[in-house]
């Protein structure tokens, strides 16, 4: 259950940035790398609980997945990786290896965890909807 630690870091990082926002923050869009081992539901629950009493109270945490991409120093490949989607694994698992030459790779994306935008509702927007 390290989602609570992560949600706590997320809220602490966001609070100074939302002080000047006018209106109700209704959504927090979190970009989560495919390699992160975090439950979306547990994160959302932790966020809801820890946001109470802050300007983020009532906002929904929405998770958008960032797929793995790599670069290969052996053949110069840059891009997506293959996945093992064998039934035994139940979901597709990214293979951290070059899909062209099978060499070791550097992970370029897939480990991120950041909020890149918020959705905000102001009183005038509520009137016009």
């Amino acid at each position: 259950m390290h989602e609570y630690s992560v949600a706590s870091e997320l809220i602490n990082a966001l609070l100074p940035q939302v002080e000047t926002i006018k209106g109700q923050i209704v959504g927090v869009i979190l970009k989560k790398g495919e390699l992160r081992i975090l439950s979306d539901q547990a994160l959302a629950n932790a966020f809801e609980l820890l946001a109470k009493g802050t300007p983020l109270e009532g906002a929904r945490l929405l998770v958008e997945l960032v797929p793995v991409s790599v670069s290969c120093s052996s053949c110069g490949y840059k891009g997506a990786v293959d996945h093992v989607s064998d039934e035994a694994f139940h979901f597709a698992v990214p293979i951290l290896s070059c899909p062209k030459c099978q060499s070791e790779v550097d992970v370029q994306t897939g480990r991120e965890l950041f909020v890149n935008r918020l959705t905000v509702q102001t009183p005038s927007e509520t009137d016009s909807e």
Binding site: S5, A13, K31, S97, N116, T119, V120
Partner: protein, 220 residues
Amino acid sequence: MHNVHVNGEDILKRQLDLAGANRRLLEERKVTAISVMGAIGSGKTSLIERMIDRLTGRGLQVGTIAADSAGDDDHQRFLSHGAASINLNTQDDCHLDAHTVDHAMKHLPLDKLDILFIENVGNLICPADFPLGTVNEVVVISTTEGDDMVRKHPKIFAQTDILVLNKIDLADAVGVDPQLVVSDYSRINPHGKAVLTDARHETGIDDLLEALGFECTNTQ
């Protein structure tokens, strides 16, 4: 409704920065730090004990950080093997983080150490998202947990550089095929190293040390 863009800094940046600071400190003091993660009861402590014995036998100074929710059993075991050890109780936390490791390191004679083993809390999932600043990470599982461990936690093992399957002496008794674990692992992690060990009977310890980059001196 409208969108407001915010500073897209990594949420765990503070953790990454602290881990980076730990790594720099360890490099400065010329200490090779190894993080040992794994399931409860997989044999992390026994493996570290065996490695302490071999490395001190080669004239190296070994330190340990023993993390557990409570108690100091592992810490006492490391002390009895002559390691400079610090006990770290995480209480209700399910993982170590770089900040806690930084505090623990302040109580260790880093200048005198060559190697530092950091034994994480027994937990396969949570520690994976919290880098500590070590140069190597090992994930320990054991045959008694079944031969489907890699299939049950594929995302962890897809990112694990060194996998140790311990208690191979018990494989037959629990009806587990170690090769199945190794083949599952190499399918999702073709560049990872799998090491089979039996810490109680000292099997595979040199292979593990070699996987960690310590030259084998064939003293055993």
